[in-house]
């Protein structure tokens, strides 16, 4: 099928399905609005699965459609263009699934992949801890093997466990070797959230929403068979998982960015902000940055073997997140004082959420500071930032 036919097929499917009962989902559930309408969105995931649109990039042998990169891009773009809601299945489909396909055993693939693909089981991510944010290797959550059952007993606290309160399972990086430090001695565990010893508390964010949680483990259990890879391989697997995060979905994300920019342009034309030279310059700059981002992503996704492209892609996260953060401010500035003071227009609420939530873009998934370190060290070959003498008891 040609890409254009394929594009039309998706657009047609979205038009036929994101309507009626699902109409309230249009444009909902995205960053800053992540816990909107959860039950309906779970239903939507099942509808997507029926249409064969979950996990389209997975290999056919694992129930995916084995779409090419170009086809996946088209799917992401059309999904976003139609105003498709934020995907509750994203962590399973985009992160855990590929990880299990790469590192899981047959039993794990058999038990977990279908639930993800069919929109029945939802996953949360258990990486960050209060003292392991940018310094992720500083993980302290402990996993002790129960010699009786072979299960792992997990104690500790994970933060920024996105949508844990709406999820069924969580994957957890924990320390399984007593006394180990840094990336050594970690284990990658799959854990049911609905069990004794797991407590989920919402983290209220600066925009008022609470789509993230702190998840507390107090001798909660991961079954013996729910270790991915070997104990001690946790860091390797955990990092590989993060590698899956980048990629295809970025072009769908950009389609969302384009919609946000359009919204702002429309308001500027309407309320007179378009007459201000500074606003004009910022909107033009945003447009330029978005076009550049598109071509950057296309260069990355072309799997160009050129080492230069590989190095350049190190800057992609920094670029999009700061672009988006600036867009968040631009939206508020285009609204002006009235947007700061009252929100009688629904677009105001949308731009306010954008304003607040985009602050997290430059923090989560590697802060600006970490990104710049990586670019400098790996991209430009500059000396590594020295680790401090350490003070594990502090902070």
């Amino acid at each position: 099928m040609s890409l254009e036919l394929f594009r039309a097929e998706i657009a047609g499917w979205m038009a036929a399905n994101l309507t009626g009962r699902f109409a309230p989902l249009v444009d909902r559930g995205h960053a800053g609005d992540g816990d909107a309408l959860p039950e309906l969105r779970k239903e939507w995931e099942r509808r997507l699965a029926e249409g064969g649109w979950t996990c389209p990039g997975w290999p056919r042998e694992h129930g995916g459609r084995g779409l090419s990169v170009a086809e996946q891009v088209v799917f992401q773009e059309e999904y976003a263009r139609a105003g498709g809601p934020g995907r509750l299945g994203h962590i399973g489909e985009g992160l855990l699934g590929p990880t299990l396909i790469a590192f899981g055993n047959e039993d794990q693939k058999r038990r977990f992949l279908p639930g993800i693909r069919e929109g029945r089981e939802f996953w949360a991510q258990g990486y960050s801890e209060p003292d392991a944010g940018s310094d992720l290797a500083n993980i302290r959550t402990r996993a002790r093997r129960d010699p009786q059952t072979g299960d792992w007993q997990v104690t500790g606290q994970k933060v920024w466990t996105s949508l844990a309160h709406l999820s069924d399972w969580i994957f957890v990086l924990a320390r399984c070797e007593e006394g180990s430090v840094g990336p050594k001695g970690l284990i990658f565990l799959l854990m049911k959230l609905d069990q004794p010893g797991v407590e989920i508390r919402p983290i209220r964010q600066i925009g008022g929403g609470a789509e993230f949680n702190s998840t507390f483990f107090d001798d909660a259990r991961a079954k013996a068979g729910d270790v991915v890879g070997a104990p001690g391989d946790g860091w390797k697997i955990g990092m590989a998982l993060l590698g899956f995060e980048r990629g295809i979905s970025t072009l769908g994300q950009q389609m969302g960015f384009a919609r946000e920019l359009e919204l702002i342009v429309g308001i500027a034309r309407e309320n007179g902000a378009a007459a201000r030279p500074a606003i004009r310059a910022r909107i033009a700059r945003a447009w330029a940055g978005l076009r550049a981002m598109r071509y950057m992503a296309m260069r990355m996704l072309a799997n160009d073997p050129e080492p230069q492209v590989q190095l350049e892609s190190l800057g992609y996260k920094y670029h999009w997140s700061n672009w988006h953060r600036d867009l968040g401010r631009l939206g508020m500035d285009v609204l002006g004082f009235s947007g700061a003071i009252a929100n009688d227009d629904p677009r105001v609420e949308k731009l306010r959420q954008l304003f607040f939530f985009t602050r997290a873009d430059t923090v989560y998934g590697g802060t600006n500071e970490i990104q710049l370190n990586i670019i400098a060290e790996r991209g430009l070959g500059m000396p590594k930032e020295p680790r401090g003498p350490g003070n594990m008891g502090k902070a």
Binding site: S128, D131, G133, S134, D135, N138, V159, W160, I203, R204, Q205, I206, G208, R276, P277, A278, I279, R329, M332, D333, G336, F337, S338, A340, I341, A342, N343, R352, F355, F356, R359, A360, T362, V363, Y364, T367, N368, E369, L372, E385, R387, G388, P389, G390, N391, K394, A395
Partner: protein, 364 residues
Amino acid sequence: MDLKLSSDQIFMRDEARRLLADRAGSEQLRKAIDAGGFDAALWKTVGAELGWCAVAVPEDAGGLGLGNLELALLAEECGRRLAPVPFWSTACLAAPLIGAVAAGEARETLLARIAAGEAAAVAMPAPAKVDPLGGELPTARRSGDGWAIDGVVPAVIDGASAAYILVPASADGGLALFAVERADATLETLDGIDLLRPAARLVLAGTKAARIDAERLDRTAFDAALLSARLTLAAEQVGAAQGVLDMTLAYIAERMQFGRTIASFQAVKHRCALLLVEIVEARSLVYGAAQGLDPLEIAAAGALASQVAFRAAEEAIQLHGGVGNTWEYDPHLYFRRAQATANLFGSADEKLALVADALLGAAA
């Protein structure tokens, strides 16, 4: 010209700083947020007991008759802690307006009420514009031996906590200034992003009002009086920038990543140093402008101050990392204030455009 603060000024400022450090901490701000962004007890202390609002009220009206620099210093301290009191609206906006354009007994009475600690607000039709009167004005008509006003003012800052509200309105085919008692007016709370300085929609439907200007509002005097409000807004923004920088410095001095404090990373140090440079630039311009009240200097100070207030809050969220994005930590309160004031009396670019117009002639 001497820019050294007098010992009286330093004393006043330091006392204010001490008081607000004690009375406007994080927990107290949270309580004020729950109370609609107003701390009545703190207001009683600073307004009625300590007489902050008397600072710029002329001595003949029961005030201290001090200058704009004193007002700016207090506004800076309020900004530093985001003090949830209507100091700026009352002492920096309403009081100078009354002093400049009100006449006779009204002037004395209203100023005396401010000096005694009552809060006041001003219902500007277009608070976001460089000319805040450049919007639709309410209309006043004679009613009995007084006046009645009709109209809606979309956003009155600190309207809800005010004892009375000054309302510029059209009357007899001209511009006039009225005082409306809070109790007589209808105010609808607005859902603003600044949780510590609420605004409200003022609905006037034949509302009783006292005309307080002499015959016809002197627009020149009105604009001149607004300079105090513009200047002190900048001072407040400088204070907010400093306050949120200090908070950030304290956090990153303790918080460890990779076995080091965040404060030990040179890139972080340089960013904090740059913020200080920008804060000092804006502060110096505010203090300098407080002396001559030059409109262009005030516009420039407003531009620099609003920019650094935002930048400092932005950096605070960033450098607090994950917790900077949580409701529980305070950087977002500064971030909200910064954005809420970024477009007050014009945006930074519009303020700088005033300077450009003066230097280069009006834009094509």
